[in-house]
């Protein structure tokens, strides 16, 4: 008996789902159909429509024969983003215009995927003069590889120090001055610890804005840094009058590891001591969303972040005077670390010219102003000096917004996070040993020795 009922029910269910399926099929033929063949040119653009709808709209008015097809990548880490880009590459259907931040710039350039833009930039000298005059040479140099420019910078983030101003006030402190030091920082961290369960300073284990800022201000790096030769074409053409462009080269090189040098050890010992002394809560692996949550909930006094936090904290309902920002504290220097992001063009794309027109178009000031990443709020810091202004940060905060661009203009020794062609594997080694030092499984010396050994093996494999 019961068999019969459930069988009939099952049939009903099957029938119902068949109907649902077929109506679904009919009503959604569009989503089943492959993209239609275009008479006009179609550029496959690796971006999120959410942020670029207005930009593309404006572009189409000027170039009606060029269609933009979004390739949305929602990966939460670099390996996921890479898995998509590489699968498309392996299948012979790569994007025409991709996006890469510093972490992947040299990978795409070094493997010949990205088109060198040098000649095109020189050919558009008049058009681009205004752009480069508005963009710090620090950013431009970061987008160069072995003498050529591969990307026109779009957004950047240097790790500055964010403060929860409510905790600051409860600790009876004022915002520190620009020239504050590592020792001042420890005082601040101590004072802001233990207020309703708060910790003075929190960070996440990753490459950018992890403990990386600490060894930058200690004037070292876990890879040897040097400037590639070349690049004069850029500095002489666009930055002839800019003293901050003096001595720059053709992009960064990281020829060898040096993870266990004394300054690295000093920096790691310092960071580990913050955890040991209870000023830093548990340091997790991750993309930073819990860090944001802990900061907005008043659990963290200070944390490393860049301009991208202003719009994001605002979106989460944090009042604009509840947080502020300052330079990273000085140690042996006050050199900051940063990452830059921008579009790259596929080397060998059938529509290189149109792609170049599009990339140039998106760098115009009036176009950047309507891009969803910078408008209505700042989701990431725009590379143009003139766009980092009072109006931009008046709604969201922070009050001390000048720090974002001053990190480039007043601290021009600021440099990129280390990111050679094999940066993802390098990052894995870096975060793995960092985690083992911070949780106490290894002493800082052991962790850095281990890191050095694995980095040497990695270099040997290349």
């Amino acid at each position: 008996m019961s068999t019969k009922i459930s069988r009939r029910e099952m049939l009903k269910l099957t029938a119902a789902s068949a109907v649902a399926m077929s109506t679904g099929l009919v009503s959604s033929t569009k989503i089943f159909a492959a993209p239609p063949g275009q008479e006009t040119i179609t550029l496959r653009f690796q971006e999120n429509e959410q942020y670029y709808a207005d930009v593309v709209e404006a572009f189409k008015q000027q170039f009606p024969n060029v269609n933009i097809e979004y390739v949305t990548v929602t990966g939460i880490d670099h390996a996921e983003v890479a898995s998509k880009i590489l699968a498309q590459l392996a299948a012979g259907t790569p994007v025409d215009i991709g996006y890469a931040a510093t972490e992947a710039t040299q990978l795409y350039a070094g493997e010949g995927l990205a088109l060198p833009l040098t000649q095109r930039v020189l050919d558009s000298k008049e058009e681009l003069a205004e752009y480069f005059a508005d963009v710090s040479p620090v950013l431009t140099e970061t987008m160069m590889y072995e003498g050529d420019l591969y990307q026109l910078p779009r957004d950047f983030n240097a790790a500055n120090m964010y403060f929860n101003t409510e905790l600051l006030a409860k600790a009876g402190l004022e915002m520190p001055p620009a020239e504050w030091t590592k020792d001042d920082f420890v005082e601040y961290a101590r004072a802001m610890t233990g207020i309703d369960g708060s910790y003075g300073y929190g960070w996440t284990n990753r490459l950018w804005g992890s403990w990386t800022p600490w060894f930058f201000v200690n004037n070292t790096n876990f890879l040897v840094e040097e400037r590639a030769p070349g690049g004069e074409w850029m500095w002489e053409t666009f930055y002839a009058d800019d003293p901050k462009a003096q001595g720059r080269g053709g992009g960064w090189r990281w020829p060898a590891p040096q993870a266990n040098n004394p300054e690295m050890l000093e920096a790691l010992e310092f960071v580990v001591s913050l955890t040991r002394d209870g000023l830093t809560p548990e340091v997790g692996m991750g993309t930073g969303e819990t860090l944001t949550g802990f900061f907005t909930s008043g659990k963290l006094g200070m944390t490393p972040a860049g301009g991208f936090w202003s719009g994001n904290l605002y979106n989460q309902g944090m009042p604009k005077d509840a947080f502020d920002v300052q330079f990273w504290p000085a140690w042996k220097s006050q050199r900051h670390q940063l990452g830059v992001g921008a579009a790259w063009i596929l080397n060998g794309s059938q529509h290189e010219d149109e792609a170049w027109e599009f990339v140039k178009f998106t760098c115009k000031k009036e176009i950047m102003e309507i891009c969803g990443l910078f408008n209505p709020v700042t989701l990431t810091t725009p590379v143009r000096r003139s766009m980092n202004n009072e109006a931009r940060y008046s709604v969201t905060g922070p009050a001390n917004w000048q720090v974002f661009y001053a990190t480039l203009d007043e601290r021009p020794d600021t440099g990129p996070i280390p990111a050679p062609v094999f940066s993802i594997e390098m990052t894995d080694i870096y975060t793995r040993f960092t985690g083992l030092a911070v949780n106490g499984d290894m002493t800082p010396q052991e962790a850095l020795d281990g890191m050095q050994a694995e980095l040497e093996a990695l270099y040997a494999r290349q």
């Binding site: 993209p35 699968a87 392996a90 993309t287």
Partner: protein
């Protein structure tokens, strides 16, 4: 009017109380058992309650400790934001189409193959079954690039829902599972049916298929769950937001550089889980009855 209804309510509540009272355990062993059930239930539900209550709180309060399990002021703005930020309904529809198509397809292919491996004799049967078993152990990440090349170059269906349906229509696990069910059904049924003049197809369709319904139910639930939550395959195969399943939409809610609010992400998760819970609540009876009816014999 009011008095009668009050009396009725009172009566109803007393019978309800009575029933509850009678259901209460009498021996200490039973109390212990009930305690055990409640402790596990609380442990299972606690994270879910946190998900729901956090999704109803202002983002800046998402990590308050001690946690407030019940939000005082309900704030639905996170839910509004979900609808503003992603094409929620079309992504949900996509998820449903993909999941239902795959569940239906797997039930058909796996029941046919499972039956064949269990009850039909043909040359090469053991070798082919071994081949099927071998494919069960391959993690999807290991084959994603060749599969992507196949669907984009070979079939030209990347960035369409077909790309998420077609490669999943056959299932080694489903064949393995249903074969076990068909094996356990006595062969007498078949002989009786043949004497009644049923052909081979009728024997399968009208006798064996219905008798394997507990296995079909398990396969349907497992497949639904796996496909509904699949994230990696669509990430690689799909480009256009309107064609994404909801799992990709949820990751989208994390915002640029993953600095978005956790409360909004959780609101998206709650919204996308509600339909699944409704399906489960209505389907639960059939699922459990199905399982009890056949009993599970591995």
């Amino acid at each position: 009017m009011t008095t009668t209804s009050t009396i009725r309510t009172a009566m109803r509540s007393t019978t309800w109380l009575n029933r509850l009272f009678r259901a209460l355990p009498r021996r200490p062993g039973e109390w212990l058992r009930l305690l055990f059930l409640f402790v596990i239930a609380i442990l299972t539900l606690m994270p879910l309650v946190w998900v729901v209550s956090t999704s109803l709180r202002q983002p800046i309060e998402s990590f308050s400790v001690p946690p407030e399990w019940i939000p005082v002021d309900m704030d639905f703005s996170n839910y509004n934001e979900v609808f503003e930020r992603i094409p929620f309904w079309s992504q949900m529809t996509n998820s449903f189409i993909i999941t239902i198509a795959v569940v239906a397809g797997q039930i058909v292919t796996a029941s046919l193959a499972g039956y064949a491996f269990a009850r039909l004799r043909f040359p090469g049967r053991n070798f082919l079954f071994w081949l099927v078993l071998a494919t069960m152990m391959i993690p999807g990440q290991a084959t994603i690039i060749p599969v992507f090349i196949l669907i984009s170059r070979g079939l030209g269906i990347n960035d369409t829902l077909w790309a998420l349906i077609i490669p999943s229509l056959s299932t080694a696990f489903g064949i393995f599972l249903l074969r076990q069910y068909f094996l356990q059904i006595p062969g007498d049924f078949e002989e009786a049916a043949m004497i009644d003049g049923a052909n081979q197809w009728q024997i399968f369709r009208q006798i064996y298929f219905p008798l394997a319904s507990p296995g079909l139910a398990i396969l349907a639930v497992l497949t639904f769950n796996a496909k509904w939550n699949d994230y990696f395959t669509p990430l690689v195969f799909m480009n256009t937001k309107d064609r994404f399943p909801i799992t990709l939409g949820i990751v989208d809610l994390k915002g640029y550089m993953a600095t978005g609010s956790i409360s909004v992400v959780l609101a998206g998760i709650v919204l996308s889980t509600i339909p699944v819970i409704i399906i489960y609540i209505f389907g639960q009876r059939y699922l459990i009855e199905g399982l009890m009816m056949g009993g599970i014999k591995g």
